[in-house]
Point group: C2
Chain length 498, copies 2
């Protein structure tokens, strides 16, 4: 195979993986209930075919020949990175037995269905059986891929290449100390924030329309994008110029749905931005989830929970819901969407306490994959850790360990990227402020400027740099928690008069 | 391969074909516009993979060994039929060069997109280029498959195995004479039917809800089914217990959308009924489209345009749209939904003139595939034939040769099955009347009885009998136009006092 033929083999794999993404999107969004068995079969069959393509020796050997050939060093940078990325991917994929991939794919499809049922009914017996199976398969996966110190590292690598638990653990430990102290300070504040008006009845269709208005403001191209409903919001890439998000709106909690929508829109802007710059290149694929979450969390929090954003957009939302918001001042609204409060649901959490949810999950995942926590003890461990971190027990499984879809979808190792994303977003923001004057003011074409900046610094890089390399390239420093803590400090000092 | 392994190979193909169906469904229903290039690639890649599975020699040889083996005659009937069907399918598929399948798949995907654009803008230049390509590929396909007298036969076979133009042509010619004479009689009638109230403003959401109410009445299991919007309504099978229809509702034409919904629901009941009886068997696959259309047209016309149906359901629709229907009597409504009028759009036509639309298309297709009509002359030929059959010229391309999606989707040879379906539905109805007393009365559980009858006589047969065999089995006679003409005669004599 020459370079063109290699790229064609890659295109085939990528198109099949995106077809798999459509099967999964459809399952979460539109599939009739009784279609699940047949859907799981399709996902398993397609996974088998994709895996067989990764095992093609000619593909692998041809890549290596290019990589070790005399011309490699003269290739353009992107071409070098494409080859390196494909080798990284193939080395990994070729270690995995087909049976394991197929069994995992089928079990995940069934488990997501059982997860939805368990949430509805509270009866999690069937779900637990499948979760045990997924964890068993994930541990086998980690052992197959291999690792130096911790099997969990083999899973982290799937979401952020080369990420290690030994990097995360001290960083998160330090952050935990900083956050606990910070939350205590806030708890002592005499400022009380009224959020009652956010829990009045908000017409869901109007919420939907306002969300669409904002995401257009953010610079989404509606011809490459769509939004639908699902139990758990997510973003998926179905193809070049076909990126989709989902949301979940509640009549009595207008801001949950809103922040979920702009969170996913942050992901979608990233995917579409990479796609615009790199189209079918392998460098547009499997982006670091930490960088991905830095994009979603940047738009959700640093933009979407900023005073500047609401100074501009509060009159708009006020006009959509006059009955609920006519009497509310923009400053009250700004405070309400930034109330810091220990609460049970991760995706509804404020940006301070949010990270405690992630620390809990990261710890649980590490224990599960290391075999020191079993599914039969998971719920109790979850509840006790919640009690110690949040000072309450979850009111139900749905508000406890069943709240996230991730484990049913086999996503062990994904959670830490949310907090890494938070840290990165603050570090990026710091750099952005130097380049974009008056960044807090959203009255002009600020979203266009932010998008252009992201394009230059993040989007067009695709997967050509590791998370750490890119953070360094953008900020001139290694990833650390200081920028994030400083961002929180500046913001909440003002809100809570600390 | 033993029987089990053969079945597994078949399952793989079927699941991949249903995945292809999801890619196509999504393209028609939800895909963002700019996703089209990437979607066409996916469809082409998946088609290539499916085709390679059909080419597997082991699969083919193992099937033949079973077929020619000493035990074949002792196999249960269904097992024999499964093997025969798979051999029929493989013999055909293995003749087709992979390139042809792939090119056709890709071109169809792009052409459907251009067809939608051409309808919107009236500019059909890009669409025509793709249509020329599709026709060229279809002719190559016919030549590859082979035929005795007419290349069109090779295409008809895809929709109804063994159907020949030499069978259709005289049947349709006879029907044409009968219909033209019948329409002349109706035109001479002094009865005038008022349909104005059907063209008032009908809230689209309420139309949607009423459609859902009726299809539940018809016996659809909503957990195996869904309905969405698309430009051109269709039914598709995404998997076992995952059947989907689309509809297209218009504010000012309430009955078009309604009849389209129950037409597609007839298809869906058939697919789900076959699925319930035969699940993953090859005998549940590639059902005769003539039988399929007999089901959809039965529910649309023989049921949905009957006096008995509206005597029961008119009070329901009246309650949904009191402003428009309060003053209307059930007999007026019954007459209005049965007005016979030569009109430009096939899917909006009454059940009498409908067949003239099909005769036109069948004639055009036969000429195109025989090379005696070229795309550059198609529009003019269409318009002139419309003038001679309907006595008017289409007002636009959209009301003319661009009205149907079929050719852009490569469906040459499908159209005749609509009229065959009409004839079959009347012949089936004749037999059903003997078994179900008081068939015209819909006040009890009539839909359940009809569904059970269809299950016993049609659904559970899957593809085990040819269209002709099944018609004979059910009615004791060959397929002919007499029952259909008698049905029309009885019904319209009364309405138009002929």
């Amino acid at each position: 195979m020459n370079y063109q033929q290699i790229m064609k083999s890659y295109q085939l794999i990528r198109n099949l993986e995106e077809t798999l993404a459509l099967l999964e999107w459809d399952q979460a969004v539109y599939m009739p209930k009784r279609g699940i068995q047949s859907r799981a079969e399709k996902i398993a069959f397609l996974t088998e075919i994709i895996h067989s393509k990764y095992l093609d020796d000619d593909f692998y050997i041809s890549l290596y020949k290019l990589y070790e050939g005399p011309d490699f060093k003269d290739f353009p940078f992107q071409k070098q990175k494409e080859i390196e990325f494909l080798i990284y991917l193939l080395v990994k994929k070729r270690k995995i037995p087909a049976n394991l991939e197929i069994e995992l794919a089928r079990t995940k499809a069934l488990a997501q269905d059982e997860w939805e049922k368990a949430r509805e009914t509270g009866d999690d017996r069937e779900y637990k059986k499948l979760l045990i199976k997924i964890i068993d398969l994930k541990i086998r996966y980690a052992n197959t891929i291999g690792y130096k110190n911790n099997p969990y590292d083999a899973l982290l690598d799937d979401y952020d290449p080369n990420l290690k638990y030994s990097f995360i653990a001290p960083l998160f430990e330090e952050l935990k100390g900083q956050l606990v102290e910070f939350i205590q300070k806030i708890n002592k504040s005499s400022v009380t924030i009224n959020t009652d008006f956010l829990n009045k009845s908000y017409d869901v269709q109007k919420q939907w329309d306002f969300g669409l208005f904002i995401l257009e403001q953010m610079g989404i191209d509606l011809e490459s994008f769509r939004q639908d409903y699902s139990v758990h919001p997510f973003t998926t890439n179905i193809g070049v110029f076909d990126v989709r998000i989902t949301t979940n709106l509640k009549e009595n909690n207008v801001m949950d749905g809103f922040f979920s929508t702009i969170h996913e829109t942050g992901h979608a802007l990233y995917e579409l931005g990479v796609c615009e710059a790199l189209e079918y290149s392998p460098c547009a694929n499997l982006l670091s989830l930490s960088l991905h979450e830095s994009q979603s969390r940047f738009y959700e929090n640093i933009v979407g929970r900023s005073r500047g954003f609401w100074e501009h957009y509060f009159p708009h939302i006020q006009k959509v819901f006059p009955q609920n918001l006519e009497q509310v001042k923009v400053e009250q609204f700004y405070q309400a969407v930034n109330q810091v409060k220990l609460s049970p649901i991760r995706i509804e959490a404020d940006e301070v306490t949010y990270n405690l949810h992630i620390l809990l999950r990261t710890e649980v995942e590490n224990k599960i994959i290391n075999g020191t926590l079993k599914v039969m003890d998971l719920e109790e461990y979850w509840n006790e850790t919640t009690k110690s971190l949040f000072d309450f027990y979850p009111a139900s499984k749905k508000e406890g360990y069943l709240q996230d879809i991730h484990w049913s979808a086999g996503l062990f190792g994904y959670f830490p990227t949310y907090t890494l994303g938070n840290l990165i977003s603050a570090q990026i923001y710091q750099a952005m402020q130097k380049d974009i004057p008056d960044l807090v003011n959203f009255s002009g074409d600020k979203f266009t400027k932010i998008k252009e900046w992201m394009k230059a610094k993040v989007y067009q890089m695709g997967n050509m740099y590791s998370t750490e390399e890119l953070v360094n390239k953008i900020s001139g420093e290694n990833l650390k928690s200081d920028y994030f803590m400083k961002y929180l400090d500046d913001k909440y000092q003002d809100i809570y008069q600390l």
